[in-house]
């Protein structure tokens, strides 16, 4: 469970390199540090739904990143707000 305002890092994991998966965490935020804005609720895990497996409900968060932390050419003060499941987040 993460709280609003908490600093988090998206796990730098690449399950797509080791077999068929369905993941909704874009490649460009993996390993990047951001800040939890709010908890959006709990939703059945799409990683399981995609394979018609029983899907545990997982917390989903709005996480904010500085664009400069993701893309070197971005305006560093611009922000990216994105929905990420809690099991993809860790404390840096």
């Amino acid at each position: 469970m993460f709280m609003a305002g908490e600093t988090v890092r998206v796990k730098n994991e690449w399950p797509e390199t080791s077999g068929p998966v369905h993941i909704r965490t874009p490649h460009y935020v993996r390993g990047v540090v951001g800040q939890v804005v709010r908890r959006l609720g709990e939703f059945p895990n799409p990683e399981d739904l995609a394979f018609a497996r029983p899907a545990e409900r997982k917390p989903l968060y709005h996480v904010r990143f500085r664009k400069g932390a993701i893309w070197a050419e971005a305006n560093p003060d611009d922000e990216l707000l994105i929905e990420i499941f809690g099991h993809w987040l860790e404390r840096p």
Binding site: N12, W14, E16, T17, P20, H22, P26, H27, Y28, R30, G31, P46, L49, A50, F51, A52, I70, W71
Partner: protein, 102 residues
Amino acid sequence: MDKEVLRAHHDLGGAAKFMCEPVDTAPHGLTAFDREVDALRQMLAARTLMSVDELRRGIEAIPEAEYHRLSYYQRWIRSITEHLLRQGVITETELQAALGSA
């Protein structure tokens, strides 16, 4: 770490090679084919034969060259067809017969 190498081919957002091409912002309406595929997907969902997550997984499994060649709804029908064949909802024979009579 070279993320360009690790990302799956469908994971296009933020990929440098697509940031250098102009975005086509011209309005483009749906074709009859597009509408039919969309309706089919909604019907399959209503009958719990295929979820949107299964649709997405099937789209992401399309080989890279084909993925980039197909239109948005062509990817959908490709994913739907694979799924229905795999689940045994339709057979290859039925599919070929339907395509032959189209």
